[in-house]
């Protein structure tokens, strides 16, 4: 019973780790940064509404670039 629960927790943890971090930890880190920035800038309306989407866009392009360069280095890496 204990072992089954432990295995269940492990599978659950694995799912969320893969879902949130996986092979793109930069996306997860960026979203955490966005949460912090949103709270910091919540009273600076214009700064917040510009910073949040711009940060998301920059991270997307950066991560895509990283995916491309990593793929060139490791063509066999499965993703």
């Amino acid at each position: 019973m204990r072992r089954a629960i432990g295995r269940g927790v492990k599978v659950f943890g694995h799912f969320w780790w893969d879902f949130l971090v996986g092979d793109t930890p930069e996306l997860f880190a960026a979203v955490l940064a966005m949460i912090g920035i949103a709270f910091l800038l919540r009273h600076e309306r214009m700064a917040a509404v510009v910073t949040l989407p711009v940060l998301a866009a920059v991270v997307l392009l950066g991560s895509t670039w990283r995916g491309r360069t990593r793929r060139r280095k490791e063509p066999a890496a499965g993703e």
């Binding site: 879902f19 949130l20 996986g22 309306r45 509404v49 949040l52 998301a56 895509t64 060139r72």
Partner: protein, 262 residues
């Protein structure tokens, strides 16, 4: 109003993409191990996914403060949306192989092996498990999207109905043509859904933290336009890069894509 339309489109699109992928696995299991077990596996997974939506989504709406819920949901949607967009850009620009339903069907069929004639009518544990696991894995992301978008806007029923409509549509088309739907422009749908999820994610994340977007819900279409432009620019920039490395083979059956899945 605009938020509801985008919600329905995002859930319907995401559900269509995942349903097409799940259908390939169910068809492969049905063809090789017998239809009874494959269909039972699919039905069992769909029931479990529906129970998950109700068991997790309803308490979220009733017991979690809406602002906290929107920050968490926004973060989840942003991670998922950015991840889908990243893959869609890499695929559209030729840096990653596109999802090939024909190849996945052939691979799954080969790995499962053919059932004997007599066995096709009996229950088959392998066929059931493969279909169940395939539908469950592909459906898990849809469940997350349904719960996230539905709970953050208190429209869980609408989100669940949009997902169910996509499952029914893809199943009916699959039944009619009796083969995997390799002609569905999965990457295009994935790009559109990725743009919507990212837009919703950034919007709800900010809204939950106390940022007031200009025009309230009207900021969502503006964000969609922005991320669509960024994605198009990303594809164009990546295409223009010289010496593109060969893309890797298509995903193997049962393998998930998004972060955890497709």
């Amino acid at each position: 109003m605009s938020a509801t339309v985008v919600l329905v489109l995002a859930v319907f699109g995401a559900s269509c993409v995942e349903s097409v992928e799940a259908l390939t696995i169910v068809l492969a299991a049905g063809t090789t191990r017998g239809w009874r077990s494959a269909l039972e596996g699919m039905a069992a997974a769909l029931v479990l996914l529906a129970v998950l939506v109700g068991a997790v989504g309803v308490p979220l709406i009733h017991y979690v403060p809406i602002d906290a819920l929107r920050v968490v949901v926004g973060a989840l949607l942003a991670v998922l949306g950015l991840s889908w967009l990243r893959k869609a850009i890499l695929r559209a620009s030729g840096h990653m192989a596109k999802h090939d339903e024909d190849a996945i069907f052939a691979k799954t069929t080969a790995s499962l092996g053919a059932a004997t004639n007599g066995r096709a009518r009996q229950r088959d544990g392998v066929g059931f498990t493969v279909a169940f696991k395939g539908v469950l894995l592909e459906g898990m992301e849809v469940v997350l999207i349904v719960i996230s978008l539905g709970a953050s806007q208190h429209k869980l029923g609408t989100a669940a109905a949009a997902a169910a409509a996509a499952v029914v549509l893809v199943s009916l088309v699959g039944l009619l043509v009796s083969r995997q739907l390799s002609e569905v422009p999965e990457n295009t749908i994935k790009t559109v859904v990725g743009v919507m999820l990212t837009s919703f994610g950034v919007f709800w994340l900010g809204e939950g933290a106390g940022v007031r977007w200009p025009g309230s819900d009207l900021a969502i279409p503006v964000l969609i336009g922005l991320f669509a432009l960024v994605s198009a620019a990303g594809v164009a920039a990546m295409r223009s890069l010289a010496s593109v490395a060969p893309a890797e083979p298509a995903s193997v059956p049962g393998e998930t894509e998004g972060q955890p899945a497709s």
